[in-house]
């Protein structure tokens, strides 16, 4: 049995632990595992949907989720306090998605060449009518260049500030704004010309 992703936030319980408390637990050897478990519990749903929107198929999202949280557990000691924990997690997840795109593309072809594969996966994976507005909207997003797609998803779905998006993607706040603007315009244009 499968559930609709749009309702998952109501179905799954929210876990509320302060990042500071989680990091404090992780910093102590005897409570480290408990801290890592709480961190995973708190962020796994958000990170899953971020990954899923990028890689489209659940199978790929599963692999990237596992790699992402394995890396989080491995490199948590490198996390600099003062930064936001969730932007650090999003950065790791995003890098893992890009690593997947690099593996799946043909060698020496541009990274953006994965778009058509992702659109094929969208039509194969979705239980929705391929002409539904939800599918067409995702298709419009998948047609964007990778950087614009990332910026758009982080702003539109995760409601991040342009500064946070810049931190995750290693670009400036202004570049985030510009990419979001172009992405929105392209999506509008695509949706109006259906």
């Amino acid at each position: 049995m499968r559930v609709d992703s749009s309702n998952s936030k109501q179905i799954l319980p929210m876990v509320h632990h302060k990042d500071e408390d989680i990091l404090s637990l992780i910093s102590q050897t005897e409570t480290r595992d408990r801290g890592l478990t709480l961190l995973t519990e708190k962020y796994k749903e958000r990170i899953y949907w971020h990954i899923r929107r990028l890689v489209v198929s659940h199978e790929d999202a599963q692999d990237v989720m596992q790699e992402t949280f394995t890396n989080v557990c491995k490199y948590i000691d490198r996390f600099r306090e003062g930064s936001k924990l969730y932007t650090w997690l999003y950065r790791i997840a995003t890098n893992e998605c890009i690593r997947l795109f690099r593996k799946s593309r043909k060698i020496f072809t541009p990274l953006d060449s994965v778009q058509s594969d992702l659109i094929d996966k969208l039509h194969y994976e979705t239980a929705y009518d391929s002409h539904s507005i939800e599918v067409k909207f995702q298709e419009a997003i998948l047609r964007l260049p990778n950087k614009q797609r990332l910026v758009f998803n982080l702003r539109y779905y995760d409601e991040m500030s342009f500064q946070e998006i810049g931190d995750i993607l290693g670009i400036s706040e202004n570049s985030s704004k510009t990419n979001y603007h172009y992405a929105s315009e392209k999506i509008k244009s695509y949706m109006l010309n259906l």
Partner: protein, 100 residues
């Protein structure tokens, strides 16, 4: 030109997720021995390839090379690499997030 209203779609996604997947998700902490071995062998293969390329470059940098030589040698070496080795090589060469 008309206006597209983003609210007509909102945040609805056309994706399903197997029931219980997110709720039951946990991290497999330790990488299997087989995985470690596979990564190590890929790393060694990619390193050897880079050493060979560097060696060729050092040996032939001051010599006049027939125009067909370089591409022929590299092409034949690339043909001998497995898909996994090619993927690893491309990952090593791609170190920037958006750099193609």
């Amino acid at each position: 030109m008309g206006k597209f209203d983003f609210d007509t779609v909102g945040k609805r996604l056309p994706y399903d997720v197997p029931e219980g997947y997110i709720h039951n998700f946990s991290v497999k902490r330790a990488e299997s021995g087989r995985g470690v071995l596979r990564r190590a062998s890929l790393f060694v293969a990619a390193s050897l390839f880079l050493v060979v390329i560097s060696g060729l470059f050092i040996v032939y940098r001051d010599k006049k090379i027939p125009s067909s030589f370089e591409s022929y040698e590299i092409e034949s070496m690339i043909k001998e690499l497995s898909d996994d080795e090619l993927v690893t090589l491309s990952m090593i060469l791609d170190d920037n997030l958006f750099n193609d």
